[in-house]
């Protein structure tokens, strides 16, 4: 791949006609385009084309018919519910934490620690997260046992740890820090003068949040919530490490289809599921980009 770029590098330096120069300039960017072509665009194309291809060849929509089955519908419902609730709760709690940080000393140690910790924890969505919560509120977890010994059995009615409520709680562990990271810049953009202006015009705290800060922050808040949704919806590692026997979530269904040892593995269905995931994330992320642009009109 780099061999294609080398002649461009040596010959482009030679004085030459404008047209030739321009076409040689393109060669300099070739290694990059070849690489992403093979390892990013080609796999994406395989997914997109494969999901419309019948097992014997030819164009078909039958792969998507597999999504209609009850257990697939349940997988999508579970994934969407967990992602939505963990995004909404993570956004609210993260915004509250970000506000508590912003109102402190901007150069203080507390702020630096919280930002660094958020950077680490927002990426802490893998296998380790599953073990962290097994050690905390699993059946022999420290907090669970402690509470039970003191008369509070959090699993008295049902063991919800491995169910959507438990997964949602676990996801908050990386959703809240991510919200702090992405929402803090918007909060930083709020000027104290705007509050003073509101007060000098006779407005109360309620008026300030309702008519000034609220509308200014709303697009950023919504946008960040969408980002959190996409983040949770794409997550796979924690689910896989926690639900070792499989579970009703879209990523785990893809895993089962990909690693199925029986001869009935269906690559077409896996590709259709993957394409459905990409579609949902692309829609959500496009809305996020739109809202970010709107935010930057006033803040930042």
């Amino acid at each position: 791949m780099s061999a294609a770029g080398n002649p461009a590098v040596t010959t482009a330096a030679r004085p030459d006609s404008g047209g030739r120069q321009r076409s040689l300039s393109w060669l300099g960017a070739m290694p990059f385009f070849v690489y992403v072509g093979i390892f990013l665009l080609l796999p994406t194309a395989i997914v997109a084309i494969g999901s419309f291809t019948a097992s014997g060849g030819g164009v078909t929509l039958s792969n998507f018919a597999g999504i209609d089955k009850p257990f697939m519908v349940k997988a999508f419902t579970n994934s969407l519910v967990v992602s939505s609730i963990s995004a909404a709760a993570g956004a609210i709690l993260g915004a509250v934490l970000a506000y508590a940080v912003v109102t402190g000393n901007p150069n203080g140690l507390l702020r630096r620690i919280i930002m660094s910790a958020s950077g680490v924890l927002a990426q802490f969505g893998g296998v380790a997260l599953a073990f962290a919560f097994i050690a905390t509120i699993g059946s022999v977890g420290f907090v669970y046992v402690f509470l039970k010994d003191h008369g509070l059995d959090i699993y008295a009615n049902s063991v919800w740890f491995y169910e959507p409520p438990g997964i949602t709680l676990i996801y908050l562990y990386f959703q809240i820090p991510l919200m702090v990271l992405v929402f803090l810049p918007a909060l930083d953009g709020i000027r104290p003068q705007w509050r003073e202006a509101t007060e000098s015009l006779g407005g109360s705290t309620w008026h300030y949040w309702r008519y000034v800060a609220g509308p200014l922050l709303a697009p950023a808040f919504l946008g960040c919530t969408l980002l959190l949704f996409a983040n949770a919806f794409s997550a796979y590692a924690t689910l896989s490490a926690l639900l070792t026997n499989g579970g009703s979530y879209v990523p785990l269904q893809i895993q089962a289809l990909l690693t199925g040892e029986t001869e009935q593995s269906q690559p077409g269905l896996a590709q259709a599921l993957a394409l459905a995931m990409v579609f949902i994330v692309v829609v959500v992320m496009s809305l996020y980009a739109l809202l970010q642009r709107r935010t930057s009109r006033w803040l930042h």
Binding site: L41, Q123, A128, I134, V143, A274, M277
Partner: protein, 268 residues
């Protein structure tokens, strides 16, 4: 700000920080507790699970594999991305939006979806290029693109690339010299940042490795966890604390590097 409002704000901050602190510290504490448990309920605290890390061949191999992958991915990312971004800024500014779009694309294609398309590709790679686990670096280079791009883009925006490179070129420097002796020394913190983000991502990667049937650190941790949860928990909390320390160091060192190079003498 009135006194009562300042008081209320203070109460609010203390309450929020205490509750959040509890939520985020509890699992870390529980992991430390869990990884130092003995076999019996009444047995004393023990570091056996931590010592078993070094005695579990799979884990040791996983750690070595993931470290190798982290180094290869970081270097590959720099070798592929940095010259391209410099070249595009100087010669092809028209396509900068396309490059940016492609680099941010992995954010909208979840790894679990990308791996579905990578599977047939890796069948080919395993046969024709290499069957080694290190082939994972090809895919990891794609996964780190968005974070590396942002970091390097910020670094390039902070230096006057055009003037610097034209000055070097007019003095007879080739493009290699421009890259190695002009661009790289002028943006150390951006390069450090991009590399460390790549390292962190590779060390924590599980999705692609697991579904392509490769054994890296996280796959081994999940596997060992099936039989010996204490040891896996020890690795998990160890990695988390290490990440904290690294990031703290980065914040301190990064800040200092930035000061030296971009805003000299600002803190007189």
């Amino acid at each position: 700000m009135s006194r009562s409002r300042r008081f209320k704000l203070r109460i609010f901050r203390v309450v929020v920080l205490l509750l959040m602190g509890a939520f985020f510290l509890m699992p870390v504490g529980a992991m430390l507790e869990f990884s130092t448990r003995g076999n019996e309920v009444t047995s004393p605290r023990t570091l056996d699970a931590w010592l078993r890390i070094a005695q579990t061949p799979g884990l040791v191999k996983g750690i070595v594999t993931s470290l190798q992958l982290a180094v290869i991915t970081s270097l590959g990312m720099l070798a592929l991305l940095l010259p391209t971004m410099v070249w595009v800024r100087l010669r092809l500014p028209r396509i900068s939006r396309i490059v940016e779009f492609i680099c941010l694309l992995p954010l909208t294609v979840p790894a679990i979806a990308l791996v579905v398309g990578l599977k047939p590709l890796y069948v080919w790679v395993n046969i024709n290029v290499t069957p080694s686990v290190l082939a994972l670096a090809f895919a990891y280079l794609i996964l780190v693109l968005p974070y590396s791009y942002r970091s390097l883009d910020a670094g390039l925006a902070a230096i006057d690339l055009k003037t610097l490179s034209e000055a070097a070129r007019s003095l007879g420097a080739g493009w290699g010299t421009v890259m190695l002796r002009i661009v790289i020394p002028n943006m150390p913190s951006a390069i450090l940042n991009a590399s460390l983000l790549s390292v962190a991502l590779v060390l924590g990667e599980y999705t692609v490795a697991n579904l392509l049937n490769f054994q890296n650190l996280q796959v081994e941790v999940a596997y060992v966890g099936l039989t010996d949860a204490n040891t896996s928990t020890a690795v998990a909390v160890g990695a988390l604390l290490l990440a904290f320390i690294l990031l703290m160091v980065l914040t301190l060192v990064g800040g200092r590097l930035q000061q030296q190079h971009y805003i000299p003498g600002q803190r007189a």
